[in-house]
Structure formats: C-alpha cells, structure tokens
C-alpha cells in the first residue's frame, strides 16, 4: 500500500533515480566498512610486523618476541580441520546431490548440517573439551583443536559443495550414462570435475572459518607458547594468541600485529585459490 502512495507522490523516473542512489550507497558503505576494518588492522598491526616478529618465539608471555609458534599452530590445526572435514563434507554432498533421493534420511542430514552451522562456536569448544580432550583422552592438543574445528567447517563445506554439485547441468550426467558409463564413472569423471570450482570454494570457506576461530579452540588446543610438532602437542593458534594478548592486557601492539598476520594469511589463501579456480574454470569452459 505504501508503495502505491509512493508512486502517486513521486514520479516513477525520480523514484528510480532515488532507488539507484540508495543501492549504490549501500554498496559503497559495505565496501567502506570492509576497508575501514582491514585498513585499521593494518594501520595498527603492520608497523609491528618484521622478520623477527614472524620467525621467532614469543618472550615474556608474548609481551616481546615473535609469533612463529602461533603461525605454525594456526596452519597446523587448520590443515587437520580441512583434512578431516573436506572428504566427509564433499562425500556427504555427493551422497545428497547424486545418490540419495528425496527421503527422510536426506532431510535429516540436511537439517543436521543446517543446525550444525548455526551452533555458536563456543559450544563446539565445550563439546571438543568433553569429547576429544577428556573422553578420547587426546588432551589439549593440535589434534583436539583440529578435530573441533573440523566439526565447525563441515557444514560449510557440505552446503557449498552440495549447491555446486546440484547446479551441474543434469545433461552432462545423461550424456555420460548414455555412453555406457557407470554411475561412479559419471560422478568421478564428469560431475566432480565440473563441480570442482564450487567444491574448492566451499573448502576454502570452511578453511577460513577454521583458521579465524578462537572460541572453538579455547578449551581444546591448550595455550602453549612453543611450536607444536606432534599431533598431541598443545598449541596456540593466532586467534587464541590475539585473544589472550588483548584480554589479559599483555601487549595490545602485539595483538594488532597478530591480527594483521592473521588477516594477511587469510587473504593469501583466498586470493591464491580464487586465482587457481578461475584459471581452471576458464580452461574448462573455453573462455
């Protein structure tokens, strides 16, 4: 109704101009917010970063020294998280999109994944503490933290992969089956390669979620200041280090430096994968 009244008062062409402006402004504001946050992190953090900061151990609980063990910890737990969640997530997505019909089990899996993705990360942390750290006796370790992060990354990878597999033109699979290919040959040689860009993007989203997470590892990974070697070593990934430096008032400068390193790490991962995915997609689609 309000719409009708608006049309009566404002001529359509002017209304169009106003709406164009509003949409343009929304876009610009979003961009500005992003630039502001990243810009501020870099403004505060980049001056702290140097080779020593990147490649040495922290001293005095992190008040001085570098963050080398934290960088290693972050990469380590994220690697484990992806190693575990990617095969399960992609496998489940293939099952949902290609094998399962529409039945109760499928709806249940989908509902489960959606619910999983909306659970607050601190609850994952608590679960990780009870299950991995205590019940499975993995202790505060890279393994406990990585597995907890895997649980969190799983629904993200599943959802993105399923959408990507579902969007693959059904005619590809028909063409393959009509040539006498089996279902598995069709899935492995046609469907997965065609869905690979989307699947990769999903894995990267899951990875980004895992590498940036502090709450889920708060109770599972320990907080050791040394470089973890074994899977059962405790560790302190970047977000956790950042959290401790800031909340315990150890060094705000080093907290900003840690934040900047984390942002740069995520940027490197996403930009590299996007470039590779783009190249693959162009080659596949001949453009």
């Amino acid at each position: 109704m309000g719409d009708c009244r608006l049309h009566r008062i404002i001529p359509p062409k002017i209304a169009q101009k106003i709406m164009d402006l509003i949409f343009w402004a929304s876009g610009i504001i979003t961009l500005l917010i992003l630039l502001m946050v990243i810009g501020y992190v870099f403004y505060k953090g980049l001056p702290v970063i140097n080779l020593e900061f990147l490649f040495t151990d922290p001293m005095d609980s992190g008040k001085a020294g570098g963050i080398f063990p934290m960088i290693v910890s972050s990469l380590y737990v994220t690697f484990i998280a992806v190693l575990v969640s990617a095969p399960i997530g992609v496998g489940a997505a293939l099952y949902l999109a290609e094998y399962a019909g529409e039945n109760r089990t499928v709806r249940l899996i989908r509902f489960g994944a959606e619910t999983l993705s909306s659970i607050p990360s601190i609850i994952f942390g608590l679960f990780g503490l009870a299950f991995f750290v205590i019940y499975l006796r993995m202790g505060w370790s890279v393994l406990s933290g990585g597995l907890t992060l895997a649980l969190m990354a799983l629904p993200t990878i599943l959802a993105a992969s399923e959408v990507s597999i579902e969007s693959i033109n059904k005619s590809y699979a028909q063409g393959s089956l009509a040539l006498g290919a089996t279902k598995w040959q069709t899935v492995s040689k046609v469907v997965i390669p065609a869905a690979l860009p989307g699947i990769t993007t999903g894995i990267i989203l899951g990875m980004a979620r895992a590498i940036a997470e502090a709450a889920a590892i708060l109770y599972t990974v320990g907080a050791a200041l040394i470089t973890p070697i074994s899977l059962l070593d405790p560790a302190r990934p970047l977000p956790l280090h950042l959290y401790i430096l800031a909340t315990e008032g150890i060094s705000l400068d080093n907290a900003w430096g840690t934040a900047a390193v984390l942002v740069i790490l995520i940027l490197i991962i996403t930009v590299t994968t996007n470039t590779l995915v783009d190249r693959y997609r162009k080659q596949m689609m001949g453009r």
Partner: protein, 251 residues
C-alpha cells in the same frame, strides 16, 4: 527384411500416467527411421526405452518386450552399461562435457577401458572425421568443447557417440536447438552414417523426416497410428489422423 530392434506391445507408465499404450514397432537395420507426432505423444519416451534411459526415473514402470538382435534388453541378465554402448544416444540440446574436444570423444572409449594413447588418438580422429567435424577442430583438440558453436557441439556429441561404435544411434530432436545451416550439416551426416549404423530419429520437422528417413512411425497419444515407408506415410497415409497431422491440421 532384417530388423535390429523389435518392440512388442510396450506399455510405459510414470506413476499413474500411461505414456505408451501397447506400442509395437520393428526397426530395420542400417536405415533411418523417423518418429513423428505432436509433443507429448511418447516418441522420446519410446526411444528412451530402447537404451533403458527411462530406468533412471524412479516412477518408471513398463511391460512388453524390446529385442535387440533378438535378445530381450529388459532381461535381468542384461548389463545396462553394455546395452548403452550398443545403443548410443544424441540429445535434443547439445551436451558436450566441460572438457577438451579430445577428451569428449575419448570419454566413452576410456570408460570402456581403452587407455592406450595411440589407439585413443586414432579412434578420436576417426570419430571426428565420421562426424564431419575433424577439419574444423583438428588444431584445437585440447581446447574446451564449450567454446564450439551449437552445431559443432552437436556434431561433437555425434562423434562421441560413434567413437564407441554402437549398432544403433538414437537421436532425440537433434536439430531443434540448431540454426538451418547446422541442421543441414547434421542431416548430411545422418545420410552418411546410415551405411554403418541404424538411426532412429525423433523429429518435429516434417520436411526433415522426409529428407532423412526411409521409414517413419506416427505417434499420437502414446500409440502408433501408422508406420511404414516414409513416402507412403507422407504421400498416401492410410489413417485420417496421420493425414491431418502431416498436413498441419493439428500438432
């Protein structure tokens, strides 16, 4: 006359829908048979029973028999993968895989266990020549098939099909998404292919049916009204409904 396919009293249902009603048709070997009729009359469903593509639809049910070289293809002992190798299919919309031109044609061969590079190269070249596409793609075999024009893509799909050396090629309105020049090329190709293959083509284009086929069957509401030599169907149809359809009174 030698028949390669004999369908006997076929009934096909999707859920409660009775799509084919007691269809019987014999397809002579190494000729082109055209299936004509209005949309929704069961032509596509019929050819999809011949390579068991309907099996992919969960609500599909059928009774009756389909013999390929005298063997019942719905016999539980029949391997569907094997059957589809013998009965190839070209779809309405060109559907090359998002792979290179070479990999598209080699796909069926690789799926059936041929991995020798020399054999693959030889067979891919043969198939592309057979589909009258070789001259156009000879130097871009490693480029994506998605970059080809619609007509080229459809000929690539034909090349992909003949690469596995089927006995029968089913074509489901293969030209409906193509321009007239590409259509002519495909029709010329069909003439060339009928020496080695039995072709069954579904078409909405009456002229196309007369141009490419020797035999024709007219489908209406899930039944075959009339079938026989194409010129007889078009020039002196026995049934009033056939005459009405081909003279454009409905459909």
């Amino acid at each position: 006359m030698e028949y390669i396919i004999e369908a006997e009293n076929l009934n096909v249902y999707f859920d409660e829908l009775h799509i084919l009603k007691g269809v019987s048709l014999k397809i002579p070997k190494n000729t082109v048979t055209a299936l004509i009729g209005p949309s929704g009359c069961g032509k596509s469903t019929f050819i999809r029973t011949l390579n068991r593509m309907n099996d992919l639809i969960s609500t599909f049910r059928m009774d009756g028999t389909v013999l390929l070289d005298g063997e019942d293809i719905y016999n539980p002992k029949v391997d569907v993968v094997d059957l589809r190798k013998r009965v190839g299919m070209v779809f309405q919309k060109p559907n090359p895989f998002p792979k290179s031109i070479f990999d598209n044609v080699a796909y069926g061969l690789r799926v059936h266990g041929i991995n020798d590079k020399d054999i693959l190269e030889h067979k891919v070249e043969e198939a592309l020549k057979g589909a009258a596409l070789w001259d156009e793609v000879e130097n871009i075999l490693d480029k994506s098939a998605m970059g080809l024009s619609g007509g080229q893509q459809q000929r690539l799909c034909i090349a992909r099909t003949i690469a596995v050396e089927p006995e029968v090629i089913l074509m489901d309105e293969p030209c409906s998404a193509l321009d007239p020049i590409s259509t002519t090329k495909i029709e010329d190709l069909i003439h060339k292919l009928k020496k080695d293959y039995t072709i069954i083509i579904v078409t909405h284009n009456m002229q196309q049916a007369t141009r490419v086929s020797k035999y024709a069957a007219f489908f209406l509401h899930g039944e075959i009204v009339e079938n026989g030599r194409t010129e007889q169907i078009f020039l002196e149809p026995c049934d009033q409904r056939t005459e009405d359809y081909i003279t454009g009174r409905f459909g």
